[in-house]
Symmetry: C2
DNA sequence: AAAAATAATTAGCTATGCTAAGTAATTATA
DNA sequence: TATAATTACTTAGCATAGCTAATTATTTTT
């Protein structure tokens, strides 16, 4: 009985924590994403560019999978990046169906600037925290990344 | 000199934590939002409905402000909710320019179901954590909510 | 050689964000 | 008190971003 009661208590705790985490994540991103307006890119283009910069060169299909989008959606996003001079498309010489994507110097610059802006604005919000609280957030971020990154 | 060095170390820590938090928040939401497809509502409609259910009745302008959207965008989102029978519009009798929004019983039901699904899927991911880790996440969620909720 | 599978694209739908301009109602002012 | 300004919302029209279905081109399998 003791065991069951404890299980129930823990389960309730999980739900409460999940609820709080969801809300916290929403509000965190809502604030930070406003910074991205300065890039002149939409959220999908910016996110795709980030993958191309950090994980590229890669194929359109790989990029679509990484962003969890369908190929037609990615075709259009990449068209936007290319048209803005942020990425280039190259047809594979072995398999001419395949398109390889690579960030241009401008694309890398734009992405790094955006990233700096985002991180800086987020870091500014953390200024009111002491070292212990910062460490708590760091630990939490580590746990969350382990739980959610690349999963499913 | 000691003081300055420490300030720099802390500042670097903030940026690193900010970076991790941003990434964690993105991946957390990306997974959870897939659950919302089951509602048949888009993300904007679902988010607006949530505010109407929990903070309503309220005016269209108030809802737009709460969602950090412009009025024309909210007009259309609300039109969708109304057309699906999830919310109702009522013209203020004192000031006939003002529209009051209220969730229908169906709207409340749909929202609560969606919320349960989200929270449950998130909680399932937390199953692998022990009590101490869960407590760390809870503490982090509390800190983040305090930092980001309602702030700008 | 023909059939099947694969990678990307095109076409066309819905949803969501915006600004500019319009309507109706209310409030402030000359 | 007439009118000017402001306010709340809507309409119209543009861009991005998600999807499915169908098409094209290429490669692989039978």
């Amino acid at each position: 009985m003791r065991k069951q009661a404890r299980t129930i208590r823990l389960a309730l705790g999980r739900v409460a924590v999940a609820d709080r985490l969801y809300s916290a994540a929403i509000h965190l991103l809502r604030g930070v994403r406003k910074q991205d307006v300065a890039t002149g890119l939409g959220p999908a283009q910016l996110s795709a560019l980030s993958v191309v910069v950090f994980a590229g060169p890669l194929t359109l299909g790989e990029l679509a999978a990484a962003e969890q989008l369908k190929a037609p959606t990615m075709t259009r996003i990449v068209a936007g990046l290319e048209q803005k001079g942020l990425a280039t498309r190259r047809i594979d010489s072995e398999d001419r169906r395949v398109v390889h994507l690579r960030a241009t110097a401008k694309g890398a610059r734009v992405l790094h600037q955006a990233r700096r802006r985002r991180i800086r604005s987020l870091a500014a919000r953390l200024r009111s925290l002491d070292a212990r609280q910062l460490a708590a957030l760091n630990r939490a971020a580590y746990l969350l990344e382990r739980l959610f990154h690349r999963a499913r």
